[in-house]
C-alpha cells in the first residue's frame, strides 16, 4: 500500500508545475526533468519515411522508470513492446522476444539513449553525443540536440524536444536519410497517471 501511495505521488510530481521557479536555462530544465518520477503517458508518433508514399501513424503508451528504463507499448497498427534498459533493447512482437545489444547497434543506441537521457535530465550524458541549445521560456521551451559525433551524424541530423516546464510534449527526430518522425505525448489523464 505504501509503495502504491508513493508511486501515485511520484506520478503526480511528474506533471505538477512548481510556481516558485524563476529564470530558465538548460540546467534548470534538466533539474526539472530529473525531478520527475516514474510515469506512464499516451503517445502518437507520425513517421514520414522516404521509402513510403504515406506516413505511418503509431500510437500507444510510453512508460518511464527512472533512471534507465524506457518502455514503449505500441497499440496500433501493430501491438508490440520495446523495453530499453540502458544496455539492451528487448522487442516483443507477435509473441516473440528479441534482445538486441546496444553495443551491436551503436547508432540506434545513441538515438534511444538521447530520449532516455532527456527524460532523466542527464545533461552530462547528452553532451557526450550532442550539442544542446534551449529556446523559449519555461512555459513553452524547445531543446535542440545536434549530434557532435560524425558517425552519429550519419544517422540523425537533429532531435528537438519541446515541452512546458517539467513536461515533455513532443519529440521531433530528423534523420540523415530524410526520414523524420514526430512523437506527441499527451498530457496524462489523472486516472492513467495514478495507474
Amino acid at each position: 500500500m505504501r509503495a502504491f501511495v508513493s508511486f501515485c505521488f511520484a506520478c503526480l510530481a511528474l506533471f505538477v508545475v512548481p510556481a516558485h521557479a524563476a529564470g530558465w536555462d538548460i540546467d534548470q530544465l534538466m533539474q526539472r526533468l530529473a525531478a520527475n518520477g516514474a510515469g506512464r503517458v499516451h503517445f502518437t508518433e507520425t513517421r514520414h519515411l522516404v521509402l513510403l508514399d504515406q506516413p505511418l501513424v503509431i500510437s500507444g503508451e510510453l512508460v518511464y522508470v527512472p533512471p534507465n528504463r524506457l518502455e514503449r507499448h505500441s497499440q496500433t497498427p501493430v501491438v508490440e513492446t520495446m523495453i530499453f534498459d540502458g544496455s539492451q533493447l528487448i522487442l516483443t512482437r507477435e509473441g516473440k522476444t528479441h534482445t538486441l545489444s546496444v553495443r551491436d547497434y551503436p547508432a540506434a543506441g545513441a538515438l534511444i539513449g538521447a530520449i532516455r537521457a532527456t527524460l532523466a535530465g542527464e545533461r552530462h550524458t547528452l553532451e557526450r553525443d550532442y550539442a544542446l541549445s534551449l529556446s523559449g521560456a519555461r512555459a513553452q521551451w524547445k531543446l535542440s540536440l545536434l549530434p557532435s559525433d560524425p558517425a552519429l551524424a550519419q544517422i540523425v541530423l537533429r532531435i528537438q524536444v519541446s515541452g512546458s516546464d517539467g513536461r515533455i510534449e513532443r519529440i521531433d527526430i530528423l534523420q540523415a536519410d530524410g526520414d523524420r518522425s514526430e512523437l506527441r505525448i499527451d498530457a496524462p489523464a489523472p486516472d492513467t497517471a495514478a495507474k
Binding site: 513517421r47 505500441s74 545489444s101
Partner: protein, 785 residues
C-alpha cells in the same frame, strides 16, 4: 627347516615379486568414473555413454566472475574471453558479446534466400509478396523499424528479419555488453573445450587456462575483490580425480599404518611383522598385475579397495603365525578351514568379476587374485620362510580371557535372533525408498560443487542438454534432410506446450536439397517485377523503389548452396558443429529439446516418443538409421537401475553358491544353520541400521553385504570346526584378524568417495557383527541336539 630351503623360498618369492612389480610398474591408472557406466552393446546406450563421456555437455565449462562491481567483472569477462578465444584448446568461448556479429550478418544476408524457411514458390506469387510487403511496412512502424529500414529495398520480403528472428536464442541478460547474472554482478562466460570430456589431462589443462586467464585479466593496480567460480563436467572430473588420488593414498597409508601397529603390538618383532606382510604385498601386487593384464588399465578405486585386501590377506598370515608361534603342531583341519574360507570369499569376488561394470569387475578380479595369491603364499612359502623354533609372544592369557568372554556372551545369545527378527520386521515394514535411483549417487562430486553448478547453469540459462532427439544418417546431407522433415513435428510439440523449444543443425545449415529447392522457387527477374508491381498496389511501399530486390533475387537464383565449410568463422559453424556428431556408426544429429520455461517441469517422454513414431511411419519409412528420443538423466538412471538389478542378481546367485558349497562340504543341515545364522543376522542388522541412519543404498552397499558374507564366513567356519573346543590362541587370531579387516574397511567408511564409503560403512560393522554373533551363538549351537 634348513637354511638352504629358506633362502631358496626367499629367492623364489623375490623373483615372483620382481615379475609382478614389473607388470604393475607398466600399468596405466585411471580415475574415470565412467567405468561405473555400462559396457553396453546397445547403440542408443553406447551413444548415451559417448555423450556423457565426450558430448558437448561434457566439454562445457561454466564460468562466473563475481564479488565486484558489474563494470569490473564485465571488463574481466571481456579480457578473459579474448585470452581464451586465442587459445586453441577452446572450440568456443561465449560471454554474451557478439564477436561474430558482422560475419554472421554478412553470411545470413548473402544466403538469405537459401536459408530462410519462408522461401517457397507461394511466397513469390502476388499474394505471398503482398503479405510479405505488408509485414515489412508493419515492421517499419515498429521499434525495430530503425534496424529494418536499411535493408528494405534489397529485402522487402523480410527474409533477413525472419532469419534473425529464427536464430535469436534466449540467453542471460546483458549488462555492460556481457552476460550478467539476473540482478547481480556476476559476469558469466561459457567455454567449450576441443578435447573430449574423458581426456582428463586436457580438461585439467583447460581449467588451468581459465584460471590463468582470470588472473591475467584482473586489474593489476587495485586489490580486486573479484572471484572466479568455475563449474562443469570437466571441473567435476578433475576434482574427482584429485579426490580419488588423495583419498586412495591417504586410506592406503592409514590402513597400512594401523595394521602394522597392530601386528607389532601382537608380535613385538619387526622380522615377524615383515613375514606377516609377505603374503599381503605379494597378493596386492598380483592383484594389480592381473587387472593390468586383464583390463589394460587399473582404476584408482580398485587400488583404494585394495586397502581392504590388506586387511583380509593379512588374516591368513595372522592365523598361521599365531598357530605356528603358539602350538607345536598345526591342527589337521587348520588349512581346510582356511581353504573353505577362501572358497566362500572367492564366490563373492567371482560375482563382482562377472558383472558388466568394468569398475566392479576390476575389483572382483583384483580381490580374487590377491586373496588366492595371499593364501598360496601363506600356505606354501611363508612356513618355509619362518625361522627354526619360531615363537611369538604368548597369547594364551589373552585367548583365555576371550574364551571366557565368549562363554559369558552365550547368555545373551537370544539377542541375535531378536535383533535379526527386529531388523527383518523393520526392513519389511519400512515405507521410504531404500535405493538411490540416480547414477549421480556414484559420483564423488561434493555438494558444494553441485550447488555452484546449479547456480551458474541457472544464471546462464545454459543449454539444457538433458533431452535430445538423436537422428542417425549415412552422411551430413542425409542427416540434415531427416532433421528437416522432423521440424514440423517438433514445432507441433512446441505449440502443444510439450516442449518449450528445440534446436536443429538444419536450422543453421539446411540440406543442399532444401537450399536448392528454395533457390529454384525464385521467379525470373521479369516475372518477379510483374508480380511485385501487382503486390505493391495500394501499399505505401512503391514497387519502383525496389529495383535492388529484383537484382538480388536474380543473382540468388544461380547461387551455389551453402556448405559446412562456408560457415567457418561464424557462430553458425559452432552451432552446427555442436549438433552434428560423426561416429563409426554414421553421422548423428543431436537435436536438443528444452523443458517448459519453469525449469522444474520435465519433457513428456511419451508424447515425444509418440510423435517420433508417427513421424517414422509417415515420412521416414525408407530411411535407415535410428531416431531416438533420449532423456539423458532418465536413461542413465535406468541404466544404473539395470546395473543394480544385475548386481542384486549376482549377489543372490553368489550367496546361493556359497550356501550350496557349504552344504556340500559340511554335509549337515545343522552345521549349515550354525554357519548361516550369524551371517544372515549380521547382514540383516547392518542393512536395517544403514536404512535407519537415512542412507540411500547404492549398489556398492549391496556389494558390501556380499563381502560381509564372504569375510564373515571365515569366522563362523572357525567357530564351527569339529575338532574339539577352540584353542585360546585361535580366539586371539580371530580377534586380530577381525581388527585388521575392520581397520582396512573402516578407513573406507571415512572416504568422501561414495563408492568407497558405501563399502566401508557396510563391511566394517558387518564383519564385527559376524564375529560377535558367531561367538554368541557358539556354545548354544554346540549344545543343541
Amino acid at each position: 627347516m634348513s637354511w638352504r630351503r629358506r633362502s631358496g623360498a626367499f629367492l623364489l618369492w623375490l623373483a615372483l615379486l620382481g615379475v609382478l612389480a614389473a607388470i604393475a610398474a607398466r600399468t596405466t591408472f585411471t580415475t574415470d568414473m565412467s567405468v561405473f557406466l555400462p559396457d553396453s552393446p546397445d547403440v542408443g546406450h553406447q551413444l548415451l555413454v559417448d555423450q556423457l563421456k565426450n558430448g558437448m555437455a561434457s566439454r562445457l565449462f561454466l564460468v562466473g566472475i563475481e564479488g565486484g562491481k558489474s563494470t569490473e567483472s564485465a571488463a574481466v569477462s571481456r579480457q578473459m574471453a579474448a585470452t581464451l578465444r586465442a587459445d586453441a584448446r577452446f572450440a568456443e568461448v561465449n560471454n554474451g558479446a557478439s564477436v561474430h556479429f558482422e560475419a554472421d550478418r554478412k553470411l545470413l544476408f548473402e544466403h538469405r534466400y537459401a536459408l530462410s524457411p519462408k522461401v517457397d514458390a507461394a511466397r513469390f506469387e502476388v499474394e505471398g509478396l503482398r503479405a510479405a510487403l505488408q509485414e515489412t511496412v508493419d515492421l517499419l512502424a515498429s521499434s525495430a523499424g530503425l534496424f529494418a529500414k536499411p535493408l528494405v529495398t534489397r529485402d522487402p520480403s523480410g527474409e533477413m528479419m525472419a532469419l534473425l528472428a529464427g536464430l535469436n536464442r534466449a540467453g542471460p541478460t546483458l549488462t555492460e555488453g556481457v552476460w550478467m547474472s539476473q540482478g547481480g554482478s556476476t559476469a558469466l562466460l561459457l567455454a567449450l573445450t576441443r578435447a573430449g570430456g574423458d581426456d582428463l589431462d586436457a580438461q585439467e589443462a583447460a581449467l588451468e587456462a581459465i584460471r590463468a586467464a582470470f588472473s591475467a585479466a584482473l586489474p593489476a593496480d587495485s586489490a580486486s575483490l573479484l572471484r572466479l567460480e568455475v563449474s562443469g563436467p570437466g571441473v567435476f572430473a578433475v576434482h574427482s580425480r584429485e579426490t580419488i588420488k588423495s583419498e586412495v593414498s591417504r586410506i592406503a597409508a592409514a590402513g597400512t599404518v594401523i595394521i602394522v601397529v597392530l601386528l607389532l603390538l601382537v608380535f613385538r618383532s619387526v622380522s615377524v611383522l615383515l613375514l606377516g606382510l609377505v603374503p599381503v604385498i605379494t597378493g596386492a601386487l598380483a592383484g594389480v598385475a592381473s587387472v593390468s593384464l586383464g583390463f589394460g588399465v587399473v582404476h584408482g578405486l580398485t587400488l583404494g579397495f585394495g586397502t581392504t585386501l590388506i586387511g583380509e590377506a593379512v588374516d591368513y598370515a595372522l592365523y598361521l603365525l599365531i598357530q605356528r608361534g603358539s602350538a607345536s603342531t598345526v591342527p589337521s583341519r587348520f588349512w581346510s578351514t582356511i581353504m573353505l574360507g577362501l572358497l566362500t570369499s572367492g564366490c563373492g569376488f567371482v560375482a563382482l568379476f562377472a558383472s558388466d561394470f568394468p569398475g566392479l569387475s576390476q575389483l572382483g578380479l583384483y580381490s580374487l587374485v590377491g586373496l588366492i595369491t595371499a593364501v598360496l603364499i601363506t600356505r606354501y612359502l611363508l612356513p618355509a620362510l619362518l625361522p627354526a623354533g619360531f615363537r611369538i609372544r604368548d597369547l594364551r592369557p589373552l585367548g583365555e580371557r576371550l574364551a571366557r568372554l565368549v562363554a559369558a556372551s552365550a547368555r545373551w545369545r537370544l539377542l541375535v535372533p531378536v535383533l535379526a527378527l527386529a531388523s527383518l520386521a523393520y526392513l519389511v515394514t519400512r515405507t521410504e525408498p531404500v535405493w538411490q535411483h540416480e547414477l549421480l549417487a556414484l559420483s564423488p562430486v561434493s555438494k558444494a560443487d553441485v550447488l555452484l553448478d546449479q547456480r551458474l547453469r541457472h544464471d546462464l540459462a545454459a543449454p539444457d542438454t538433458r533431452y535430445l532427439v538423436l537422428l542417425q544418417g549415412t552422411d551430413i546431407e542425409h542427416v540434415l534432410a531427416r532433421a528437416e522433415t522432423l521440424s514440423p513435428v517438433l514445432d507441433r510439440l512446441e505449440a502443444e506446450g510439450k516442449i518449450s523449444g528445440w534446436d536443429s543443425p538444419a536450422r543453421y545449415l539446411p540440406s543442399v536439397a532444401t537450399q536448392q529447392r528454395r533457390l529454384q522457387s525464385l521467379p525470373a527477374r521479369d516475372e518477379l517485377a510483374r508480380r511485385l508491381a501487382l503486390a505493391a498496389h495500394g501499399l505505401p511501399l512503391a514497387a519502383d523503389k525496389l529495383t535492388p530486390f529484383l537484382d538480388e533475387v536474380e543473382a540468388a537464383r544461380t547461387q551455389a548452396p551453402l556448405t559446412p565449410a562456408a560457415l567457418a568463422g561464424t557462430s553458425l559453424a559452432m552451432a552446427v558443429e555442436a549438433m552434428l556428431l560423426t561416429t563409426d556408426h554414421g553421422v548423428f544429429a543431436l537435436l536438443p529439446l528444452s523443458t517448459p520455461a519453469t525449469g522444474e517441469a520435465e519433457v513428456d517422454a511419451s508424447a515425444v516418443n509418440q510423435a517420433l513414431d508417427a513421424w517414422k511411419r509417415e515420412h521416414d519409412r525408407d530411411d535407415g538409421g535410428a531416431a531416438i528420443f533420449l532423456d539423458i538423466k532418465t536413461a542413465s538412471d535406468s541404466l544404473y537401475l539395470g546395473y543394480l538389478n544385475e548386481i542384486l542378481k549376482l549377489t543372490t546367485i553368489s550367496i546361493a553358491i556359497i550356501a550350496l558349497l557349504l552344504s556340500c562340504l559340511l554335509r549337515s543341515p545343522l552345521k549349515m544353520l550354525r554357519i548361516v545364522a550369524p551371517l544372515s543376522a549380521s547382514v540383516l542388522v547392518v542393512l536395517a541400521a544403514l536404512i535407519l541412519c537415512g542412507q540411500h543404498l547404492i549398489l556398492l552397499h549391496l556389494v558390501g553385504l556380499l563381502l560381509i558374507v564372504a569375510v564373515g564366513s571365515n569366522y563362523t567356519l572357525f567357530f564351527n570346526r569339529d575338532d574339539g573346543p577352540i584353542a585360546p590362541h585361535t580366539y586371539a587370531s580371530l580377534l586380530f584378524a577381525n581388527l585388521t579387516t575392520v581397520a582396512g574397511y573402516g578407513m573406507l567408511a571415512f572416504s568422501s568417495v561414495p563408492v568407497l564409503q558405501a563399502i566401508g560403512m557396510t563391511v566394517a560393522p558387518g564383519t564385527i557383527l559376524a564375529l560377535v554373533f558367531s561367538a554368541m551363538l557358539y556354545r548354544q549351537t554346540k549344545t543343541r541336539p
